[in-house]
Symmetry: C2
Subunit: 203 residues, 2 copies
């Protein structure tokens, strides 16, 4: 499913999607100019991004909102169910297990893993917490291609190795370490503290 969309355009699709969904039901049409104005971006950029999803608008009227939503969702694969596992049931991990926001993208966190015996066997956010030793078999059982890593920095590489070996193809890493993974595994990082620090340094 490799498309030729630049990743930076791909990153904007959820922004359009959220905005379009937030519009009142009554709005049948929306123009690229209106979207651009609402989101503070250029209107040509909006049209180019939307063109990747193969949605098309009509001159003079704009885009049909419902069609646009459907096209973006289709393009992002929201309609395809995807299983994910989460490793590291600390504060952040627990919060993500209880967070309902993944479902709109068709993503389901099926199970969680931790090395702490105190946590193993419990349920967080309706998801069972198992020992790290069961990770590989669970990835296999659920056909999980996605994983969230929310363990401490020192443990992250080891978890990453295990996930990659288990067949996970995409890792969203919250630990402040650059993970080494095989080429076939895509890693993206979220570092909340660093993001806030960068923001602070812009002021």
């Amino acid at each position: 499913m490799t498309r030729d969309i630049p990743e930076i355009s791909l990153q904007r699709l959820p922004i359009y999607l959220n905005y379009l969904k937030s519009l009142p039901e009554g709005d049948k049409y929306i123009s690229s100019g209106a979207i651009a104005a609402a989101l503070g971006m250029g209107e040509v950029l909006v049209r180019k991004d939307l063109a990747y999803t193969s949605s098309s608008g009509r001159p003079k009227v704009g885009y049909v909102r419902a069609e646009l939503i459907a096209a973006i969702e289709e393009y992002l694969g929201c309609n395809k169910k995807k299983n994910a596992v989460l490793v590291g049931v600390g504060g952040l991990g627990s919060a993500l297990l209880s967070y309902g926001g993944f479902s709109k993208y068709g993503i389901d966190i099926v199970e969680a893993f931790d090395s702490d015996p105190e946590k193993i066997g419990t349920t967080v956010g309706g998801k069972a917490v198992r020992g790290d030793d069961e990770l590989a078999s669970a990835v296999n059982k659920y056909g999980a291609l996605l994983a969230i890593v929310a363990v401490p920095a020192v443990a992250a590489q080891q978890v990453c190795d295990c996930l990659a070996a288990s067949g996970v193809k995409g890792i969203l890493n919250f630990a402040p370490v650059q993970l080494k993974a095989p080429e076939s595994v895509v890693v993206r990082n979220i570092d909340v503290a660093a993001s806030l620090a960068i923001l602070a340094s812009l002021l």
Copy 2:
């Protein structure tokens, strides 16, 4: 404190910093080539990024690791104490209140706010939770220029307005909405679900 560093270079500084800190104490020198190889990037890019921090290396030997760390920390303002407030003490907000990772950038979350009477008056992660009505006075009292917004999407704009009116200059927003704020307020977004969806669509 507006510098002419591209934001994308700024975003990489914490990555270098984390890596440099993770090296064994014994390593006195490190070359841009070694950093680049470890982090999977081009070595010229590393040198350019590091040059913004006014750190400089010596031909043949590379950079003094400790100096480089100090220069990046100085540049990022890690040594300047900065107060932040957090709004929305749900799962994610609670996790962030308990997270110790902000301190390495000199950031302290001083107080938290929520509209839920059940939460007001409690303590989470050692921080007092107050009512939203006390937000403005707290921002003032602590001179907080930074805020984390971790409220539901429907409440985020209102919180943003309040923060901007209170004098906050930087907002890290976890709600999946594009916030409208005055030019003088910098907003950056983290959408965990969207990030995972984007990752999934790359596979």
